[in-house]
């Protein structure tokens, strides 16, 4: 497989010692939009040059413009007492929608299953509130023996639980149901992210306040301007709900609910109420706006809408190669992406490179966690001709991710909440990758 080696790197030879550093390949910047190796080397020496003391030996001007003027030729940056940042050459960001109500995770640029906290998607209904944790309280009242208020400090005294979980907006990929106008994996599927969340089980809090036997529903209310509220059945509350105060090992980010949010594993994003300030225990659903006028699923042409459709069903996304990239030429590529299900761990992911005619198993990267993104990989030799690549997830309940055609036939394209159809990427003969609707 010498051919493969040539495509993804350069053989090392005598001439490497004499010629200037070269970019890995001219097309790679289209695949991964970031600085070239040469820019990295040049920028690195500029950054550290100023740090050298005039009293200490330093590199002469003649030596500095030689071929080996790299990062290894000058002292590096010393440690600081600070909040670390990524390399100044890394530029991947979330992408906010024009209205400023959402910012999308750049899946095409990420690895593994954890979404960096700064790239976790955000969605809110009246902006991100600024909350002083010393002033914030969680009130639990209603059908309880002892109504209580808890500060963040109080919550941290309870036994804690950590779980790595995806949170996905129910509108995620809904736009992909209608058209192929959205170009990238970020634009089509950027409203899902995975973090490790830490907090206290709501069942623990319920035992502390003494929930009454007749309790059936819990209203969760946020402290944002929208005061977003949802009704949660008591069974889910007692099963696996928790109030999180930490995300990926540190305090939750403001856009994700600082200082505390509700986590309902596997359920649609907005019911994981952020900036949580109140849990009211009752015996009936409260029928808030976000579970009646919004976030209900109108089935096209029937006039009827599905309500309380909380679970996010199995979905998958090829993140490489994906829309708006360009492959430099035929040869080996590792198709990779993420799969997830709100019901159960991922059982398998299949890959098609012929637009859904035939399917092959992808390898799943451990850990395969319930209700978290799972990374899949599939080795592929692209022969240079047009191809349509797709992924199809199956979870451990046996549920198989449906095609767009199936969903359109049975549900139409109404408000497109909970759309989980198979995503197709077309690779043209020139290597360009684009979003495409497959009938």
């Amino acid at each position: 497989m010498d051919q493969t080696q040539e495509l993804i790197g350069e053989p090392m030879g005598e001439s490497d010692l004499e010629r200037p550093a070269q970019e890995d390949c001219p097309c790679k910047e289209d695949m991964f939009p970031k600085a070239s190796r040469r820019q990295v080397l040049r920028g690195g020496s500029l950054l550290t040059a100023a740090a050298a003391s005039v009293l200490l030996p330093r590199r002469g001007a003649l030596a500095a413009d030689a071929d080996d003027a790299g990062s290894w030729t000058v002292p590096g940056q010393l440690a600081k007492s600070d909040y670390g940042t990524r390399s100044s050459y890394e530029t991947v960001v979330r992408e906010a929608t024009p209205a400023g109500t959402d910012a999308l995770t750049p899946h095409q640029s990420l690895w593994g299953i954890i979404t960096p906290s700064g790239l976790h998607f955000e969605r809110h209904h009246n902006g991100v509130p600024t909350i002083d944790p010393a002033q914030h309280r969680l009130l639990i009242h209603g059908m309880v023996d002892r109504p209580m208020k808890y500060s963040v400090t109080d919550l941290k005294r309870f036994p804690s639980v950590s779980r790595t979980l995806f949170i996905e907006c129910s509108g995620n990929s809904g736009g992909a149901a209608r058209s192929a106008a959205l170009k990238t994996a970020q634009a089509t599927h950027g409203l899902t992210s995975t973090s490790e969340w830490t907090g206290v089980r709501v069942s623990t809090l319920m035992s502390a306040v003494g929930v009454k036997d007749s309790a059936a529903w819990v209203l969760a209310e946020g402290a944002d301007g929208a005061m977003l509220s949802r009704s949660v059945p008591i069974d889910k509350i007692m099963d696996d709900a928790f109030v999180a105060y930490a995300q990926n090992g540190e305090a939750i980010r403001p856009e994700n609910g600082y200082p505390m949010r509700l986590i309902l594993p596997g359920w649609e994003g907005n019911i994981n109420v952020k900036w949580l300030r109140r849990l009211k225990i009752g015996d009936k659903p409260f029928m808030t706006r976000e579970e009646t006028g919004k976030y209900t699923d109108l089935i096209t042409l029937t006039g009827k809408a599905r309500q309380f459709s909380w679970v996010m069903e199995a979905k998958s996304l090829i993140t490489f190669p994906s829309g708006d990239m360009r492959l430099p030429g035929k040869g080996f590529y590792e198709i990779t992406g993420i799969a997830w299900s709100g019901r159960a761990p991922i059982e398998r992911v299949e890959i098609s490179t012929d637009g859904g005619k035939s399917w092959s198993l992808a390898a799943l990267q451990e850990p395969i966690l319930p209700k978290a993104h799972t990374r899949f990989r599939y080795p592929w030799f692209w022969d240079g001709s047009e191809a349509i690549i797709e992924s199809r997830a199956t979870d451990q309940t046996g549920y198989v991710q449906p095609t767009k055609a199936f969903l359109t036939a049975h549900e139409g394209v109404g408000p497109t909440y909970h759309y989980n159809g198979i995503q197709s990427w077309k690779i043209s003969a020139d290597g360009s990758v684009s979003n495409v609707l497959v009938a």
Binding site: P98, A99, T101, H125, N126, L139, H141, R146, P147, M148, K149, Y150, S151, L155, R157, P159, T204, S207, A208, V209, G210, E221, G225, A226, M227, L228, S229, R278, K280, G282, K284, F286, M287, T288, R289, T292, G293, L298, T300, L301, G303, K304, A305, R306, Q307, F308, S309, W310, V311, E313, R392, T397, Y399, V400, P402, T403, F406, H410, G414, P415
Partner: protein, 198 residues
Amino acid sequence: MSLSLSPHLVLGAALALSVLVTPLAVEGQSYTGDYPFGTPATQADIDAWNKDVRPDGQGLPPGSGTYEKGQQIYAQQCAVCHGENLEGIRNPNLPQNGGPALIGGRGTLNTPRFKITVESYWPYATTLYDYILRAMPYTAPSSLKPDEVYSLVAFILGRANIIDKKTAMDAKSLPKVEMPNRNGFFPDNRPYPVKHYD
């Protein structure tokens, strides 16, 4: 002379005993199971935040509102985003690109050109009160008084021809309003019962 014990000794023994026998009882706090953390909520604490309203009317406060008062408030507080005729506005210079239409669309839900509004889609009139009180107007949420919210509900439902324009809205009349799409919803029926793959 009776035996005198050092106060520190007594306190120490009591603490040791309490740790051994009742490790979780903390003086001065109400008993909350194994975890006596947090602060008991007073009725004032609860009343300050307990504003939500259910379809059966639970949570609706005293007060009332009329179509005429609602029309005035709407013009001042709502029309800029939702339109003079409640038709909705799309404008990138407005918060969230403008507000959705509140009326119209009745009879369209089973057509390809469905239009979702309060009039055509929302199953409960109480939700309108609940949402306006807590979340509207967008730039000053939670600023409206109950009478103002009752009035806005009377105006919107009146313009939607769901209630008579002379009907005042209050804690008794609002839960009785029958919304056109009251029976337009069904509970989650997924996973879909049809096999969709080979």
